[in-house]
C-alpha cells in the first residue's frame, strides 16, 4: 500500500518525460516561426515604434513617387516606340515605291509592243491596288493593337496603384495598432509580433491582388497574336497578288 503513491509519481514522471520528448521539437519549430530578434530589441520595440513608422512611411512615399514616374516612363516609351516604328515603316514604303518606279521605267523602255506597254500598265495598277489593300489592313491591325494595348496598360497601372493604396492602408493600420498597443502598455514583444504578423498579411494580400496583373499580361499576349496574324495575312495576300501580276507581266514580255 505504501508503494502506491511512489508508483503513481513514477508513472506521472514517465508520462511527462514522454510528452516533453514529443512536444519539444514542435515547440522549437513554433519558436522558429516567430520574428527573430534579441530579447532586448523586442523589449525596446515600443521605444522604437515612432522611428520605425517614420522610416516605413518615408520609404512608401518614395515608392509611390517612383510608381508615378514609372507609369509616365512606360507610356512615354510606348509612344516613342510607336512613333519610331511608324517612321521606319513609312521610310520603307517610300523606298519601295521609289525602287518600283525606277524599275518600271526601265521596263517601259524595254517594251517593244503596245501589248507589252499595256501589260506594264496592268502590272502597275495591280501592284498599286494590292499595296492599298495591304496598307489599309496592316495600318488597321496596328492601330487596333495600339489602342487596345494602351487601354490594357492603363488598366495595369491603375491596378498597381489601387493595390498599392490598399497595401499602404493595411500597413498604416498595423502601425497605428502597434502605437496604440504600446501606449496601452501591452508587452512590447507582443506588439512587435502582432505588427509583423499584420504586415505579412498585408504583403500576402498585395501579392495576391497583383496576380491580376498576370491576367492583363495574358490579354496583351492575345492582342499581340491577333495583330501578328492580321499583319501576316495581309502581307501573304499582297505577295499572292504580286505573284499573279508578275506572271502576267513576264508572259507579256515573253511574247515578241
Amino acid at each position: 500500500m505504501k508503494e502506491r503513491p511512489m508508483r503513481t509519481i513514477k508513472n506521472f514522471s514517465l508520462i511527462l518525460a514522454t510528452l516533453g520528448f514529443i512536444l519539444t521539437p514542435a515547440l522549437g519549430l513554433a519558436r522558429e516561426d516567430k520574428p527573430t530578434a534579441p530579447a532586448s530589441d523586442a523589449k525596446n520595440f515600443c521605444t522604437r515604434i515612432a522611428n520605425v513608422t517614420g522610416e516605413v512611411n518615408s520609404k512608401l512615399v518614395k515608392v509611390d513617387q517612383d510608381r508615378g514616374s514609372k507609369r509616365t516612363e512606360v507610356f512615354n516609351q510606348l509612344k516613342e516606340r510607336k512613333e519610331s516604328r511608324v517612321k521606319q515603316v513609312q521610310e520603307k514604303r517610300d523606298q519601295a515605291k521609289a525602287d518600283l518606279d525606277e524599275r518600271l521605267s526601265d521596263l517601259e523602255s524595254d517594251a517593244l509592243t503596245e501589248a507589252q506597254l499595256s501589260a506594264l500598265a496592268a502590272f502597275r495598277a495591280a501592284v498599286a491596288a494590292a499595296q492599298e489593300v495591304r496598307k489599309a489592313a496592316v495600318d488597321k491591325a496596328m492601330a487596333d493593337f495600339r489602342t487596345s494595348q494602351e487601354s490594357l496598360v492603363t488598366k495595369r497601372q491603375d491596378a498597381i496603384k489601387a493595390n498599392a493604396t490598399t497595401f499602404k492602408a493595411d500597413v498604416a493600420a498595423a502601425m497605428a495598432k502597434a502605437k496604440t498597443d504600446c501606449a496601452a502598455s501591452v508587452d512590447p514583444a507582443t506588439v512587435r509580433r502582432t505588427l509583423m504578423s499584420a504586415q505579412q498579411a498585408a504583403k500576402d494580400k498585395f501579392q495576391q491582388a497583383n496576380k491580376d496583373l498576370d491576367k492583363l499580361g495574358g490579354q496583351i499576349k492575345n492582342l499581340t497574336q491577333t495583330r501578328n496574324q492580321a499583319v501576316r495575312d495581309a502581307n501573304q495576300a499582297f505577295k499572292a497578288a504580286l505573284e499573279t501580276a508578275r506572271q502576267n507581266l513576264k508572259a507579256a514580255f515573253a511574247q515578241s
Partner: protein, 82 residues
Amino acid sequence: MKKILFLTAGLMLLAAACNAGNQASTGNSTESNSASRVDAAVSNLNASVDSEEAVNLQSDDDVINSDQTIVNDYEGATNANY
C-alpha cells in the same frame, strides 16, 4: 559587170541576214532583261514587306512589365529595424 552585180547582191543578202540575226539576238536579250527586271521589282517589293513586318511585329513586353520592380519595392519598403 555581171560578176560585180552578182557579188554586190550576194553581199547585200549576207548583210541582210546578219542584220536579221542581230535583231533576233537583241530581241532575246531584251526579253531576258525584262524578265529579270520584273523579278527584281517583285523581289524588292516582297523584301520591303518582310522588312516592314519585322518592324511592326516587335514586342513591347519589356516596357510594359518594367513596372514589376515597383511592385517589389512596395513590399521592400516595409522592411525596417523592428
